[in-house]
Point group: C2
Chain length 216, copies 2
């Protein structure tokens, strides 16, 4: 797959089929992930693939509790606000997020990313994104979720025997599977609307009228 | 460029030439960056490109102070340990990091990434990594650095008029330029050595003997 097709079309793909992801695809995803830069060459990451149905059911219950906590704290009122301003894009994201919470136990594969000595997340999330881009190249959709790490890290780590006393903590749960939806470009403000030149607020000397890759 | 070539060979490229990065390449880097997934579709990121020499000189001084703080706190003793065990790989990373600190004002372009409402960094770092992968496709080397955000966030934000009272904070300074060094695969433990299956400590059902992409 061409780099730009992957960068431009790998959207959060929450709605996935229950069909399993083959081992050779999982291996390719992990092999690509670990090529990403890692602070001081530390490789302070561990990956844990979950396909077992009883573990997935337990994760699904934790996920729903965490998702409920998110929607009643950090995201409280978001849905009502989106409805009030008829923001269809935001409502689609919420609907898709609801689907994932309701159907989490049907997800065929979850890749949990753990890290330590990585205070900003600058080492783990590039590698997680590489994993998702490689998945995309194999036709597998993925979503980077952080609600388990925000609200249920202790429970997740306890269930999976993660040695938190050695500093390991969950950074993300990446849900993976063959997509029910379609790949496509995400809607974004143009790059020049979120980029400044030399100083905050100063417009850049370039602008991009249409996405520079769009073969869809 | 093929996706795997980018994922497998985009190493931290600290040693770069002073030659400027053209506007069309900068635009391509930013346009690719903003296609990455963003939590709840929030686009809670802003980018600031620095090429101005006086700003770069000020950043370089802050960078050296931050780098010194890093090496005398979090990384204290690392160099001596690497020398004691003759760890040539770690020593090469440190030598390259020293080069960047000493030559920061010669870097032609620094892209600063700012974020808010992104407590784990899970939204900004995938986008930063997309920016670096797109740079790679245009022959531009980049390094994700976090020492300024760790140790000098207030000073950087004050110098560049960043409205920290609206929640904006620096996540990364990405140094960019045409490489002095060569692209190549990073040395890594094999994927199965850092991946567990179903439970921490359990080996996966697959293994990868050689990197799955290696045309170098």
């Amino acid at each position: 797959m061409e780099l730009n097709e992957a960068l431009y079309t790998t959207r959060a793909m929450r709605r996935v089929k229950p069909d399993p992801v083959p081992d050779d695809v999982v291996a390719a995803m992990l092999d690509a992930a670990i090529r990403a830069p890692t602070g001081s060459g530390g490789e302070n990451w561990r990956w844990l693939t979950v396909t077992d149905r009883s573990t997935m059911t337990a994760l699904a219950e934790m996920y729903r509790e965490a998702y409920h906590l998110l929607n009643t704290t950090m995201y409280a009122g978001k849905k009502e606000q989106a409805e009030a301003r008829n923001d269809q894009r935001a409502l689609r994201v919420m609907s898709s997020s609801d689907w994932l919470a309701e159907n989490f136990e049907q997800v065929p594969l979850v890749v949990l990313a753990f890290h330590r000595n990585d205070p900003s997340g600058a080492s783990i999330y590039p590698a997680v994104w590489s994993l998702m881009l490689e998945a995309r190249a194999h036709g597998v959709g993925a979503t980077l979720t952080t609600v388990l790490s925000w609200f249920k890290n202790d429970e997740v780590c306890a269930m999976l025997d993660v040695p938190t006393d050695h500093g390991w903590t969950n950074a993300a749960a990446v849900t993976c599977g063959y997509p029910l939806g379609r790949w496509g470009l995400a809607t974004r403000k143009p790059a020049q609307a979120v980029t400044y030149s030399e100083r905050w607020g100063a417009a850049p000397t370039w602008s991009v009228d249409e996405p520079l890759w769009n073969e869809y």
